[in-house]
């Protein structure tokens, strides 16, 4: 089977990927790291002929009540035009306010008011890109008492109203579910399967919050067993999608990312094969 899973392209691996051209489903870059004219952008352009790309933005701040930053939006749109990636995505979160950028995926209350803000921002983003953009479920460390919708219900309604895609991150589901005392399998119920365009997988850490464990989405280790198990459940329910291994802190040798991507391909393959066997038995 050809690899479906890809890896996040990180600067320590750039030269090696350029030299070795390893087989991988696709490469994903963070938009905000390629908006200037640095040699990294030229390296990516050289790889563009051999790899499918995904552009993952982290700073569009789609949940911002102030709306989108026009200058930043234009820069990301220009990069998308230049690289013509297979996917474009950002998160269900906000990160700017009052002209300041916090460099973190800050949480939203899941209310009708917030939904209208995000629908408006995603619509403006998709108009600027001239294409569908996928929105990723974030890792949450808190919930707001005033939320009236669950996170998956909010995302489903966002898809319905804006026509965006969903980037489903099972690691973020595990992190959020643990931190907010939810059941990760319940979280999957009712999602619009047809809108799901991509999966993300990454490692998380366990920290201490006033004597209690809290999971932190640090992208600094291998994917955990619990996340692999939920990923298999996701593939069983929604089918195979391009799947990404993300690693952003304590970045290991390239081979480790490729191993994790191969494991993701293996999970997809065995889950689909088991599904086929079940279907054959039922017939």
């Amino acid at each position: 089977m050809n690899p479906v899973a890809g890896i996040g392209l990180r600067s320590p691996h750039l030269a090696e990927i350029g030299r070795e051209r390893p087989a991988t489903g696709f490469l994903e870059i963070h938009a905000e790291n390629y908006l200037a004219g640095s040699p990294a952008l030229q390296a990516v352009e050289r790889l563009r002929a051999d790899y499918a790309f995904s552009i993952h933005a982290v700073g569009l701040s789609l949940g911002s009540v102030d709306g989108l930053d026009a200058a930043h939006l234009a820069r990301v749109a220009a990069l998308v035009k230049r690289l013509e990636p297979a996917f474009v995505s950002d998160h269900l979160s906000w990160s700017t306010g009052g002209g300041r950028y916090f460099n973190d995926l800050l949480p939203l209350p899941y209310t009708e008011e917030a939904l209208e803000v995000v629908v408006g921002n995603v619509g403006r983003l998709q108009d600027a890109m001239g294409r569908q953009v996928s929105i990723e479920n974030p890792s949450c460390y808190l919930g707001f008492a005033q939320s009236t919708l669950s996170e998956p219900a909010f995302l489903s309604e966002l898809v319905r109203r804006s026509g965006c895609g969903l980037l489903l991150d099972p690691n973020n589901i595990v992190v959020t579910a643990h931190n907010l005392r939810l059941d990760p399998r319940d979280w999957l119920t009712g999602l619009p399967s047809a809108a799901i365009t991509e999966y993300h997988l990454a490692g998380h850490a366990t920290n201490d919050a006033d004597g209690e464990p809290i999971l932190i989405d640090d992208h600094g280790s291998r994917v955990s067993d619990g996340v692999w198990a939920l990923f298999a459940e996701v593939v069983k329910r929604f089918g195979a999608r391009p799947t990404l291994i993300e690693w952003d802190a304590d970045i290991p040798p390239l081979g480790v990312l490729l191993e994790e991507a191969a494991r993701a391909d293996g999970v997809i393959e065995t889950t689909l094969a088991a599904g086929d066997r079940d279907a054959a038995r039922a017939a």
């Binding site: 905000e32 790291n33 908006l35 200037a36 004219g37 640095s38 040699p39 030229q42 982290v58 700073g59 569009l60 701040s61 911002s64 009540v65 930053d69 200058a71 930043h72 820069r75 906000w94 990160s95 700017t96 306010g97 009052g98 002209g99 300041r100 950028y101 916090f102 460099n103 973190d104 800050l106 949480p107 939203l108 209350p109 209310t111 008011e113 917030a114 803000v117 460390y141 808190l142 919930g143 707001f144 008492a145 005033q146 939320s147 931190n179 907010l180 005392r181 920290n207 919050a209 006033d210 209690e212 809290i214 932190i216």
Partner: protein, 255 residues
Amino acid sequence: MPLALRDLQAAFAAHIVGADRADLVAAVAGDTIPAAARLGVYRHQVFESLGTALAATFPTVQALVGTAFFRGLARAFVRHALPQQPVLAEYGGDFPAFVAGYEAARDLPYLADVARLDWALNVAFQAQLGERLQVTDLSLLPAERLPSTSISWAAGVVLVSSPYPLDRIWEASQPGAASDAVDLNLGGSNLLVLRRSDDAFFVSLSAGEAAFMAALARGMSLEQSAGAAFEADPDFELSTSFARLLAWGAFAALQ
């Protein structure tokens, strides 16, 4: 009472970089992990991630002061000035000035200039590899017009002048440097920072060359700029220095 989204985001922003906001804490669903501790995760991540970004942009400063001191310095700067946009390579232009006024670094008077050098290397690295003046461009110009012509700097070129030997300090703080002892009485430095195909680098200029480049940057003609260079450095030799600067790719185009 639920907070309007605008008020909630303003309270969140104020909470992250300032004191705890009671209205925000009350809006967070707390349980055995209190709301304030949950909010603390975000506050920690904002400061840590921006500190990591500053360390990537100012590696020589961090090498000189160590990671623990740098973390405190970065926290103070983040509190002083958050990024105004999401491209982190463009965050920290005010950091050298902040370092200059940072009380705990008063014993390291050269640290702010080192920060300026790190920032210049970052600016050069992020610059477009744009137009460069070639020898052939000069030959196309009638000789009598040359003295009154000015020349623009290539994109990303920065001149960093300091009363300290910045090049020696930079070399000594590189990983694997033979020695980390630098005689601060070696005198000042004029470093020209430039972008080349795969990275950014700097070269050491004479006082005359630095004055020459500075005059060109002010839009002065070649003749006027050479005059400024002779004034700064009687040993300045125009043809030798001009050839050096041209070969490094310091110039963009004739003006």
